[in-house]
């Protein structure tokens, strides 16, 4: 098992390396010349030369990649083009905010979705299940901002329970921070929980169609007991994978939700950088998002290896 975990860990590192190459290729090699891509058609030759020098484009690509990677590993992501701020100082507090919001949503969504998913599987074909199916299908199809604005209308404008903008600042008391981020967290929860519920339900049901479950039924065990005692231990692995997959929706959903609630997170920073076409900031944000994402997936896969009862003993 230790060998499997080590393998998965190394694979994670390799993926991260490949992703960093991909980001670099997309931002610096694909456009041909970043300087003229960013400055556009109207740029004078002098401006181009100065800008190229500023971006370090007079150095060969592989060297630039190497310097960028080594810098990133040392926590040096360069400076922003537009305001000359050190990118890492800009990113760290915002990453904290984003992870706080995502973590808050995950804390509510995971138990809710897995619990309801198992409940739907137990009641397969009955009213509860059908209700869960249609409501999650609708929740999946709705755009993030639609849910967010509906919540704002009902919970911030009609009834003044929560603020419609989530303002957070440094040194804010924890309870206040939780209160401010509740509305975006609810929105994210609704988005992610629907996916998770459906996938949990179907992975439990997939286990339910195996012969050993049929055996449990034949020896007279009740449906509830079969699910909890027999099906769940083997459905745990797919459920963990489902949770990890949904962290992807969470990471993506966060970008839009932050824009709706004007929440000072990493997503906002990246969207701003994209609209200002600030390449170093885009690279840095992309790399940080990718790192969070790959780390989550690797952790989930390792967890799957750990909880799988069949891998616990040496063969």
């Amino acid at each position: 098992m230790a060998k499997l975990i080590l393998n998965r860990f190394l694979l994670g590192l390799l993926t991260l390396f490949a992703v960093s190459v991909l980001i670099f290729v997309c931002t610096e090699i694909l456009p041909g010349d970043v300087a003229s891509a960013v400055l556009g058609m109207g740029a004078t030759p002098e401006a181009l030369v100065i800008f190229r020098k500023e971006l370090g484009l007079d150095v060969p690509a592989y060297l630039r990649y190497w310097n960028w990677l080594v810098g990133a590993l040392h926590g040096d992501l360069g400076v922003a083009l537009t305001n000359k701020r050190v990118i890492i100082d800009e990113i760290m507090p915002r990453l904290g905010n984003t992870l706080f919001l995502a973590g808050y949503a995950a804390l509510v969504a995971i138990p809710l979705a897995v619990g309801l998913g198992i409940l739907a599987a137990i009641n397969e074909g009955k009213l509860t299940d059908k209700l869960a199916n249609i409501s999650t299908l609708i929740a999946i199809s709705l755009p993030e901002f639609f849910i967010a604005y509906l919540l704002i209308i009902f919970m911030a404008v009609n009834v003044d329970w929560f603020p419609s903008l989530s303002t957070v600042y440094k040194g804010m008391p924890f309870s206040e921070r939780v209160y401010q981020t509740t509305l975006p967290a609810i929105t994210l929860t609704l988005l992610v929980a629907a996916h998770m519920l459906r996938m949990t339900r179907s992975s439990v049901l997939a286990v339910m169609s195996t012969p050993y479950i049929e055996m449990a039924f034949l020896k007279g065990a009740r449906r509830k007991r079969v699910i909890v005692r027999h099906a769940l231990p083997n459905a745990a692995a797919p459920i963990i994978t489902v949770i990890a997959l949904n962290m992807a929706y969470l990471v993506v959903g966060v970008v839009v939700i932050e824009a709706v609630f004007v929440y000072p997170g990493l997503g906002q920073l990246m969207v701003d950088a994209v609209s200002k076409r600030d390449v170093p900031v885009i690279q840095a944000c992309g790399l940080v998002f990718a790192t969070v994402f790959v780390t989550l997936n690797t952790l989930a896969d390792i967890l799957v290896i750990v909880v799988n009862p069949r891998l616990r003993h040496k063969r």
Binding site: L22, C26, Y149, R201, V279
Partner: protein, 277 residues
């Protein structure tokens, strides 16, 4: 009521009716819209009235007219993206499945790496470097989306290449193109069609989301996501303006999903085994 010999559920019928409505409106927008696309016909965020059913937008244009043009734009772009994505995905997927060896390894690893970052982050990176124009948007999202189509097409292709009739075609000396178009594609239609519905929904939401962030379809073109963004400030005054275009997006995606759900349930087996599909 029955369709293609299968019982039509209420939700599927509702979905089809809404999709038909959207298609008709997008095809005949200039003739159906009550006002010209960018005419100022009222005040900022006018209340809904008999002449302006959904009121005015942030600079006094008719909301319904803008929504019709917006739907036409967003649906058109999403359709273009999904078609291109299927073209790329199906071709590379089937070629990978039929040829195998290093071609398969190359495409599969590339897709693995691309799928290891969330699509939105990837799209933001590309748009940040190339700027946001409609061709860039279509190409970027289509390439990103084709990774999912690739996985499905490759899986289907691998199951089909081992069939005797494909073997027979290869033995009698048919080329790669023949095998893909005449032997494999006709047998892979059914799952690909329902996948097309799902991918369309996803791309529709994706492009609406990007436009909502201000990085998708740019003004002066009307598009549903951008309209939500432009009218967002109205929400602070308790007005419903951004809700209307957002509802239009939601209505279409919910409808497509309802129809796809029905299509999938046709193939499904009755018991718990349904979940595996």
């Amino acid at each position: 009521m029955k369709l293609f010999g299968h019982k039509l559920t209420v939700s599927a019928a509702f979905g089809m009716a809404v999709i038909a409505l959207f298609v008709i409106v997008s095809l005949f927008t200039p003739w159906l819209a009550p006002f010209p696309e960018s005419a100022n016909v009222g005040g900022t965020w006018d209340e809904p009235s008999m002449t302006m059913w959904f009121g005015g937008d942030q600079i006094g244009r008719d909301m319904l007219t803008r929504m019709m043009y917006g739907a036409r734009m967003t649906i058109g772009v999403a359709l273009a993206i999904t078609s291109l994505s299927f073209l790329i995905g199906i071709l590379s997927g089937f070629v990978s499945a039929v040829v195998g060896s290093w071609v398969d390894i190359f495409f599969s690893r590339l897709v693995d790496v691309m799928l290891s970052i969330p699509g939105l982050i990837f799209a933001l990176i590309i748009l940040g470097v190339f700027g946001s124009s409609i061709p860039v948007l279509i190409l970027t999202i289509a390439v990103l989306d084709s990774t999912r189509v690739f996985r499905l097409a490759r899986a289907l292709g691998i199951n089909l290449t081992v069939m005797e009739y494909v073997e027979a075609a290869r033995l009698r000396g048919e080329g790669l193109w023949w095998v893909i178009t005449r032997e494999i594609l006709p047998n892979a239609w059914a799952p690909l069609v329902s996948e097309f519905g799902l991918r369309f929904c996803f791309n529709f939401l994706f492009i609406a989301g990007l436009s909502f962030l201000g990085l998708g379809i740019q003004p002066p073109y009307a598009d549903l996501g951008g309209m939500v963004r432009e009218n967002a400030a109205a929400i602070n005054f308790g007005m419903m303006a951004p809700i209307y275009p957002a509802t239009a997006i939601a209505l279409l995606t919910v409808s497509v999903n309802l129809v796809v759900d029905w299509m999938l349930s046709i193939d499904a087996r009755p018991s718990g085994a349904q979940a595996e599909l």
